[in-house]
């Protein structure tokens, strides 16, 4: 499998175009979810992120190809995250690199059996993508939470304006 010159994940995910693309997908995904609730939202957001990655990275393929299973896994990792901190510290004491690599493997979806080099590569891409996801979701949440208030405030203004 040969790839051409690959853009660095830091630069690839931080472009405004990419944020726009993701924002669009995020909205569609949010609209498409029937279930309400934070978990469904998170699943939608993650699958939107994986879709925006176009399946070029292993973690995105893992999310896309098995949303149900991966969604459950994500939930489990979500709960594991709070417990995993202790486990990570325990692993620290155990093996320096091996333990941490194991933790990283659990965190990045779809990278359970990757070698160290590929794992780090996937992790770089995943970190960049996550940062973009957080940005977009925060913007959306701010806009949506501000919208009703602004709409309510705009009513008298608009009435007066037009």
């Amino acid at each position: 499998m040969k790839r051409g010159p690959k853009a660095r994940p830091g630069t690839k995910w931080r472009t405004a175009a990419q944020e726009r693309v993701y924002g669009r997908r995020l909205l569609e995904a949010l609209r498409a979810t029937a279930a309400l609730g934070p978990r469904a939202v998170k699943e939608a957001a993650d699958s939107a992120l994986a879709f925006t990655a176009r399946g070029r990275s292993r973690w995105s393929r893992a999310i896309l190809l098995s949303p149900r299973r991966k969604a459950r896994l994500l939930l489990r990792t979500g709960s594991k995250i709070r417990r995993g901190r202790r486990r990570a510290r325990a692993a620290e004491a155990g093996g320096r690199l091996r333990g941490r690599l194991r933790v990283l493997r659990r965190l990045v979806p779809g990278c359970r059996k990757l070698s160290a080099g590929s794992l780090l590569e996937e992790a770089a891409d995943y970190v960049a993508a996550l940062e973009m996801q957080v940005k977009a979701m925060r913007a959306l949440a701010d806009a949506l939470s501000a919208a009703p208030a602004a709409a309510a405030a705009a009513e008298p203004g608009s009435r007066g304006g037009v």
């Binding site: 499998m1 994940p9 830091g10 405004a16 944020e19 726009r20 669009r24 997908r25 569609e28 995904a29 609209r31 498409a32 029937a34 279930a35 309400l36 934070p38 978990r39 939202v41 998170k42 149900r68 990792t77 979500g78 995250i81 901190r85 990570a88 620290e92 320096r96 690199l97 941490r100 933790v103 965190l107 080099g117 780090l120 590569e121 992790a123 770089a124 995943y126 970190v127 996550l130 940062e131 957080v134 979701m137 925060r138 913007a139 949440a141 701010d142 806009a143 949506l144 919208a147 009703p148 602004a150 709409a151 309510a152 405030a153 705009a154 009513e155 608009s158 009435r159 304006g161 037009v162």
Partner: protein, 389 residues
């Protein structure tokens, strides 16, 4: 000398030498077969000669030409048919590539010499200049010999071959030993490169060749080389990650950097969770199930407030959109289909129409977030998004 050397290099070392020996022997046979039966198809023979000789032939001719002037006086001084042939050869060479139809039998001795020369020079071409100069030693000897007659050259060929073979082996050995003694870098490079490719293939990586040079005092067996290559790859990736994660560039030590990376990933994932909780909390109010209702939440009061004319079109536009034609609610799907639904132009007009009357803070973040791409507001959206974030 340059082209001859390059041609030899292309053929390789000992393997090519064996083939050249075979070729030269074949030439001998052809010479014999052609000389003895008669002069039936000299051009064909010549053609085959040239074909067999290929490139070295021309270069051998050139070399002939070079050595020719030195011989011409000699051959002129001792007139012999072969001497004249040498001159003829030179004349031919001046004209161009080998032309054999001049005369068949006279050309053969020179051809024999040509063959020897070609073989010798192509053989020696693979070696360095010292070898070439040593090969140049026997060549004048040989040049003096062919003018004598046919049979001595043919006899000489095997003798010369053995001599050349011995010389060549020595040269090869010395050449092999030299670099090995000087530095192990060549071996290491190839070994490391091989290991790199092997590692690359197994990992399925996309990195190009990485040449690893063993430093002084480091082990050079293949295992440590492979490990070192692997370590360097991992360190390169770690550097990338360090740049990505804030505050990692100051930390030294792979383990601590990994710790930081893990913490960063965990914090990002937690943020995603919290934000999704926020969005879920916001969602029911906006009623995400329907596009028109979502928009109406923002434009609804405005629609009622503003005149019917312009703004009232928008809900109609939205409802006529195939998306909302499904009903006010998306059908729940096991997989979320990501279809680009937003009609950019309509939305842009909607936003811009309302934009005049409404606070920009409301509309612009929304527009920026929705990612409309009207040509005018592309930069505006990105700016807005950036300031938001």
């Amino acid at each position: 000398m340059g082209p001859a050397r390059s041609s030899g290099v292309g053929s390789g070392n000992s393997g090519a030498y064996a083939t050249e020996i075979a070729e030269s022997l074949r030439f001998e046979e052809e010479i014999h077969s052609i000389v003895h039966p008669g002069l039936d198809s000299p051009p064909a023979a010549g053609g085959s000669f040239t074909a067999l000789l290929g490139l070295p032939a021309n270069q051998a001719v050139e070399l002939l030409h070079e050595t020719g002037p030195s011989e011409a006086p000699g051959s002129a001084a001792a007139p012999s048919p072969t001497g004249e042939l040498w001159r003829l050869r030179l004349g031919e060479h001046a004209a161009g590539p080998l032309h054999l139809p001049l005369g068949c039998s006279p050309t053969f001795p020179s051809n024999v010499a040509l063959v020897e020369r070609a073989a010798r020079f192509s053989v020696f071409a693979a070696e360095d200049s010292p070898a070439l100069s040593s090969g140049g030693g026997p060549s004048p000897r040989l040049k003096a010999e062919p003018p004598d007659s046919d049979s001595p050259p043919t006899l000489l060929i095997p003798a010369e071959k053995t001599q050349r073979l011995a010389k060549r082996k020595e040269c090869e050995k010395s050449k092999a030993k030299g670099p090995a003694k000087k530095s192990k870098s060549a071996e290491e490079n190839t070994a490391a490169a091989a290991k790199e490719t092997a590692a690359e293939n197994t990992d399925g990586e996309k990195l190009p060749y990485v040449h690893v040079r063993a430093r002084r005092g480091q082990a050079t067996d293949s295992h440590s080389l492979a490990e070192r290559a692997r370590r360097e790859k991992i360190n390169a990736r770690m550097k990338l990650l360090q740049e990505l994660v804030p505050g990692c560039s100051k930390i030294t030590g792979t383990a601590l950097v990994l710790d930081e990376i893990i913490n960063h990933v965990q914090s990002l994932q937690r943020q995603v969770e919290f934000l999704s909780m926020r969005l879920a909390a916001v969602n029911p109010r906006i009623d995400f199930g329907g596009l028109d209702s979502f928009l109406s939440a923002e434009c609804g009061p405005l629609a009622t407030a503003n005149g019917r004319g312009g703004v009232a079109l928008d809900p109609a536009l939205w409802s006529s959109h195939p998306v909302t034609a499904n009903g006010a609610r998306w059908l729940p799907q096991p997989q979320i289909r990501h279809v680009d639904v937003w009609p950019t132009q309509q939305s842009s007009t909607a936003w811009t129409r309302d934009g005049a009357a409404h606070p920009h803070a409301l509309l612009n973040p929304g527009a920026a977030l929705f990612g409309y791409d009207p040509a005018s507001s592309v930069s505006l959206n990105s700016n807005q998004l950036k300031t938001e974030l």
